[in-house]
Point group: C2
Chain length 247, copies 2
DNA sequence: AACAATTGAGAGCACTGCTCTTGACTTTGC
DNA sequence: GCAAAGTCAAGAGCAGTGCTCTCAATTGTT
């Protein structure tokens, strides 16, 4: 079944078909340029050259550079989301920690394979470009939804250690009212059953996961600091699973 | 005491003084452009205009755009390092958790105040630009050195909870030989006394800290997901302190 | 076949990084 | 004191960018 997007209905006339095909070609070429040269070096003229067409012709199909960036953003979010879903789906539903590991490894694998596209999604924002929320929010939230779904399923199955005291030796980290309010609206929006403490820890696990991946992909670990980055990542995953309270 | 860099000796002749002053002006203007428009939009021509000089004249003082970027990188690392050192120094030496909190808050404070410069240091790499390691490694490692120094001092003072089982309910995260090798060379290079388990957790805390800050600064939390970002960060700091084994 | 919508090409504007030459100025060495 | 050496700003120019506009040709529809 072709994933027909609501915003772009299936093309009926041959013209619409050709147009959709050209846009798809532009996105494909843009993706290649993005992967090789990075987001800031993405050039509509270069894409036009590869397409065998003069630069102004591309503007018939794509409003401007920013829109191409948006298309590539959605494209990348979609691919990452698909890979994560597939990886998580390959693990038994009841193996919550296994699903968490699968998610983490899938994200890292894609990020290492596609550093420039990962940078577009999770790196510093491209100057002068603001992603239109109405088009990117949906695709962009798939991974965090998937992660939270794992935590929530584990919680409902009673497979989450509650006592946060097992993490911090001192008293459990307190959840002040302002944070509790944020967590409440998140819980309602995502339809989760997680209590504040676990939810807040989930947010930390989320940012920590991407922090570890970003450090590796963006070369923030020095040149030769860590030779065994995959082993380091596995270790981090283990600790993060512990923070989330997964067995 | 003026921080005289080894690579740039103190100017003797009036010419050298004038030259150093011009370069300082260029860096200052570049810093302003960087803060306002971002790294990728940093333009030597725009800096030249602000300097009241034709573009080619700037090339007398700065080899090319990349070198200006390097100067701004060092400049930013220096400012961040200074602020972190000052913040940490304001807390009693024996208050290890307090020093850790101070470090985290200082980094976040600077990052929120200087998002574009933070992005230059810890965001996605600028396409086509590679920071020269011999000039940036030193300034770039100050924060992690400072962080590790806190952990190490806490360890030597016996203020670090050893048993990692308190974090992950299961067996303590295992350190495979390849990772152990990396950790050994890090321990030797930094002259630390931390055992593998704590050191590996320290690395996770390090990346997690910057992951949380990057998510906030780069707008990866959705628009209205967290209203109380400072409270969320404080919570994360608490949990991270627990992971590091600090009281 | 005729019409109209769509498309591609080309010119052009304003911007970028960067190089090279030219003329003026300043410092230095004799 | 004066000429040589060194330094500097300016300007022209090249190749690239995003983007707009006009014009002619193609193409799908009626």
């Amino acid at each position: 079944m072709p994933a027909t997007d609501a915003a772009t209905p299936a093309p009926r006339t041959p013209r619409e078909r050709a147009r959709a095909q050209t846009i798809a070609d532009i996105v494909r070429l843009g993706r290649e340029h993005l992967a090789v040269h990075g987001a800031a070096a993405l050039s509509l003229r270069a894409v036009a050259r590869d397409l065998g067409v003069v630069s102004s012709a591309v503007y018939r199909y794509v409003q401007n550079r920013d829109e191409l960036l948006t298309l590539l953003l959605i494209d990348a979010y979609g691919e990452l989301g698909d890979e994560v879903d597939a990886a998580v789906g390959r693990v038994a539903e009841a193996d919550f920690a296994g699903r968490f590991y699968a998610l983490g490894r899938a994200v890292r694998g894609w990020a290492v394979r596609e550093p420039a596209r990962y940078a577009l999604l999770f790196g510093s924002p491209v100057p002068g470009y603001r992603a239109p929320a109405e088009r990117t929010t949906g695709p962009g939230t798939r991974v965090i939804y998937s992660l939270m779904a794992i935590f929530d399923a584990a919680w409902r199955a009673g497979a989450v250690r509650v006592e946060p005291a097992s993490v911090a030796a001192g008293p459990p980290a307190v959840i002040p009212p302002p944070l509790a309010r944020d967590l409440t609206s998140i819980r309602e929006e995502l339809g989760l059953g997680l209590p504040d403490g676990i939810l807040a820890r989930g947010a930390l696990v989320w940012t920590s996961l991407f922090g570890a991946i970003s450090f590796e992909v963006f070369g923030q670990y020095g040149e030769n600091t860590f030779a065994a980055k995959d082993v380091l990542f596995e270790h981090h995953l283990q600790v993060l699973a512990g923070i989330a309270g997964l067995e």
